[in-house]
């Protein structure tokens, strides 16, 4: 018999799996007014226009133009399937909805406030968040920070605003963790980035409640390129810096696709702890390319949680470079590919210093013809003595049409390191269903029990806020509610 919380989760999942045919929460996209919409071939003029409209300093414009050059030179990534269908000239690279930046929810236009209310964001903000910024299409439309954080001198604001207000601080870290030359879509991101969040946690500061950034793509044939930069400063002997950042994504159902090419850069200073949770539940109209990388200094800890539920295709591989002695990282991903969709997710851990540790846990569920892929890398560089890494990938395939791929790479250049990997693929067997049926458990309930058992050990280790939102999102997925995060 589990604890009351576990029993409640069991019940919730059981209901979730059995529920069928409820309409999407965000429903279909509806037209809304736009101030600016930039479309067509991505040229120097377009980049200059975006930069000018944001009143950016010259160094940022130069960075964008350099990225454009690289974007033009780099080939389309061919290590993944499906991206060749993306016509980068077809969609709008920058869309500013016709709405004034708001300080509270009441200042937003009715149609937009209604959308956020249906997701439950104002309620979540009031109850559990220390700060919130919401991005609609290419721009932040509301940002709120509680007094508690202001008093601690925490900076939490839209990325564009931070470029204006803290140019030196931003310049020190922006683009340093994730190089623009990494691949074509990274270069595209740097050329077109707009919106996102900047967080700076000063020394010896602990943020008790999480902060959240929420991203919505409102229309079809749009690109969203938000950039999130999180800096947890070094620590002294007074304690440990700590922050939990939640990222949520959603879109209504679109007639055509839209494209998300976001980026998260994390700098975790000495002895800091950074928790970054993503709850991705784009609608089936979104091609989602997400670039995430962290650098962890001495004794820092970076933890990525990736709940990857929605989208037409998702490609994301949160990575941590363990640069300081004793740094550690944990990466937990739960991917659901329900329907003829692709989830190509994974993780990278680069051990570049002695006594570093990494733990990667991946749980994927594929059903109704879905393809779930884990693609990962553990690299231990020469000199990263006594480093340790373990990777555990488990896949559950719910029917015979669905597929699961596990593609790990472990490269060890240091003889004192220990690296291990384990993976299993399990199925929902007729024998299991028969066994449960013979004990009076119906198929829906049986599936719920199996899915629940499959992800339960991972859920137990996550922060409470993440568990709460993630179980809800998974619930919506299985009940075919659609796209909310």
């Amino acid at each position: 018999m589990g604890s009351p919380i576990e029993l409640a989760k069991d019940k919730e999942l059981k209901e979730i799996v059995e529920n069928k045919g409820i309409e999407d929460i965000l429903g279909k996209s509806v037209p809304y007014p736009k101030d600016i919409e930039i479309k067509g071939k991505i040229t120097k003029d377009i980049i200059e226009e975006i930069s000018k409209s944001k009143k950016e300093p010259q160094w940022m414009l130069n960075l964008r133009l350099k990225a454009l050059e690289l974007f033009e030179k780099l080939p389309m990534p061919n290590w993944i399937a499906g991206v060749e269908s993306i016509d980068l000239e077809e969609f709008a690279q920058y869309v500013k909805p016709k709405v004034e930046v708001a300080e509270n929810w009441d200042q937003l236009p009715d149609w937009m406030r209604d959308m956020y209310s249906r997701i439950g964001l104002p309620e979540t903000e009031a109850k559990v968040l220390s700060g919130l910024t919401a991005v609609f299409d290419s721009e932040n439309i509301i940002s709120r920070l509680k007094d508690e954080l202001k008093q601690k001198n925490v900076i939490f604001m839209p990325m564009d605003e931070a470029v204006q207000k803290y140019p030196d601080l931003v310049k020190e870290y922006f683009g340093k963790e994730f190089p623009m030359a990494d691949h074509k879509f990274a270069a595209l991101h740097y050329a077109l980035w707009s919106g996102g969040a900047f967080v700076y946690v000063p020394k010896n500061t602990k943020i008790v409640n999480p902060v959240e950034a929420f991203f919505i793509i409102g229309g079809e044939m749009e690109g969203q390129f938000e950039h999130t930069l999180l800096v947890a400063d070094d620590n002294s002997s007074f304690g440990t810096s700590y922050i939990h950042f939640i990222e949520g994504c959603a879109a209504p159902v679109l007639r055509n696709y839209s494209f998300h090419d976001g980026m998260v850069e994390i700098y975790a200073g000495k002895n800091s702890q950074v928790y970054f949770s993503t709850l991705q539940n784009w609608s089936r109209s979104i091609i989602n390319f997400n670039n995430k990388r962290a650098i962890a200094e001495e004794n820092a800890h970076v933890e990525w949680v990736e709940g990857s539920i929605g989208s037409k295709m998702t490609y994301t591989y949160p990575s941590t470079v363990l640069r300081g002695r004793g740094a550690s990282t944990k990466n937990i991903s739960i991917g659901i590919s329900n329907g003829p969709y692709i989830k190509d997710v994974g993780s990278k851990a680069i051990h570049a210093a002695p006594d570093t540790k990494s733990m990667i846990i991946s749980k994927s569920i594929s059903s109704n013809g879905g393809i779930a892929t884990y693609r990962g890398l553990v690299k231990v560089l020469k000199g990263a003595e006594r480093s340790f890494s373990h990777v555990q990938c488990d896949s559950l395939i719910l029917d015979e049409k669905s597929q699961a791929y596990t593609l790990p790479r472990n490269e060890v250049d240091e003889p004192t390191a220990i690296v291990s990997h384990e993976a299993t693929v399990g199925r929902l067997g007729e024998d299991q269903l028969f066994y449960m049926a013979s004990r009076g458990i119906r198929e829906g309930e049986a599936k719920a029990l199996i899915v629940n058992g499959f992800i339960r050990d991972v859920l137990k280790s996550l922060p409470l806020e993440t568990v709460s939102i993630l179980t809800r999102v998974i619930g919506l997925e299985f009940s075919e509610l659609g796209s909310v995060g």
């Binding site: 080939p75 990534p77 061919n78 290590w79 993944i80 990494d182 691949h183 990278k348 594929s366 890398l377 690299k379 020469k382 896949s395 395939i397 719910l398 029917d399 015979e400 049409k401 669905s402 597929q403 699961a404 791929y405 596990t406 593609l407 790990p408 790479r409 472990n410 490269e411 060890v412 250049d413 003889p415 004192t416 390191a417 220990i418 690296v419 291990s420 990997h421 384990e422 993976a423 299993t424 693929v425 399990g426 199925r427 929902l428």
Partner: protein, 364 residues
């Protein structure tokens, strides 16, 4: 043999390896070592291998010429194209029940030499087979094994090439319906030793395979073990083990695929690389592509490590030196890789032991 008439210009147009451009994806085979050799000219001799063999294939032995490869095509890769480009003859041997030893003639040359053997294990037969290759030249050897319906076999492929040359072994196996095979591949190192093993499993077939590679000095091995289960109820247990001494590189990898037609199959895939040199490197990539949810089970594991501190402490407290501990570990793990080979187990273990003796007594 039209398929062998390969235009060198066309071969050169192909890439060595069709991989993605991800910045973290690397070439684990150092193709430049082949490029340096491929256009080299030079004398070519063949010597008869030492020992007793039922068949010796190649210019110094029996003639068992065949005309078509069955499990490999020139167009499948640049390496395969070069193999056929430099190939003079294919040898094909059909086996009834019994125990056999086959050896290639040993080419002696500074230039690329291709060799090709096809073995057919007949329907309903029970065959034990040892295949030896000890080339003293760079080049490629293809070994194709067809284990026909309802056959049972124990197979060992024992490779002992000269260390200074780049070599490639392209081993292909088909295990047809109801057939079962216990097999092992063992290889000593070369400058660049690419060992591609690909097996296709049909309905109700059983495949139990171990692959063992050694690398030392500046040698490099890329052992790729692919298992493709296309038949229902097929069963595979595959493991690869590499020892990396000195400043060598050992890569042990592969993909286990269960296709949609391979429903109700089971697979278990384990790769390990043990780093024993201070500048040695080890890469493992146990990949899995499961294309149906109707599988009995599919698991894979990998590990890279050296002798653990616990074992070191325990054995050193009993008076053993570090070198003795390493030697114990290598012998024990290596010889146990042949345990499943039934009646040819001792012969295989003796062969491996001789090579390990050579390494521990002379080379290191």
């Amino acid at each position: 043999m039209n398929s062998f008439e390969i235009n060198i210009e066309n071969i050169k147009k192909h890439k060595w390896q069709d991989i993605g451009d991800s910045p973290t994806t690397k070439y684990y085979t150092d193709w430049s070592q082949y490029e340096k050799i491929l256009n080299k000219q030079g004398e070519l001799k063949f010597e008869k291998p030492n020992g007793k063999f039922d068949f010796i294939v190649g210019p110094c032995g029996n003639s068992n010429k065949a005309y078509e490869p069955k499990l490999i095509k020139p167009e499948e890769s640049k390496l395969a194209s070069y193999h056929f480009y430099y190939l003079n003859e294919i040898n094909e041997i059909n086996l009834d029940s019994g125990e056999y030893a086959i050896s290639f003639c040993n080419p002696i040359s500074e230039r690329w030499v291709s060799q090709h053997l096809i073995v057919n294990i007949k329907e309903n037969s029970n065959v034990s087979l040892l295949i030896y290759e000890g080339r003293k030249s760079p080049g490629s050897s293809v070994i194709e094994i067809n284990a026909h319906k309802n056959s049972k076999s124990n197979l060992a492929i024992l490779l002992d090439p000269e260390i200074k040359y780049p070599t490639a072994y392209l081993i292909r196996k088909a295990i047809y319906s109801q057939a079962s095979m216990n097999s092992m591949t063992f290889s000593t190192p070369t400058l660049m030793n690419r060992i591609e093993e690909k097996v296709v499993l049909f309905d109700n077939s059983i495949f139990n395979h171990k692959s063992l590679t050694l690398s030392y000095k500046n040698s490099r091995v890329d052992n790729i073990i692919d298992t493709i289960q296309v038949g229902r109820n097929s069963d595979s247990d595959v493991s690869g083990l590499g020892f990396a001494f000195d400043s060598s590189l050992s890569s042990v990898r592969g993909t286990d695929i269960i296709t949609y037609d391979g429903r109700k199959s089971r697979s278990n895939f384990i790769v390990e690389a043990i780093i024993l040199g201070n500048s040695a490197r080890a890469y493992t990539m146990p990949m899995m592509k499961i294309e149906t949810g109707d599988v009995i089970s599919a698991t894979h594991k990998s590990a890279q490590y050296r002798v653990s501190d616990d074992i070191l402490f325990y054995l050193q407290s009993r008076g053993l030196t570090y070198e003795e501990i390493v030697s114990l570990l290598v012998y024990e793990k290596s010889l146990s890789m042949a345990n499943h080979l039934e009646n040819i187990k001792e012969k295989v273990q003796e062969f491996i032991k001789q090579k390990l003796d050579r390494i521990f007594k002379n080379q290191l």
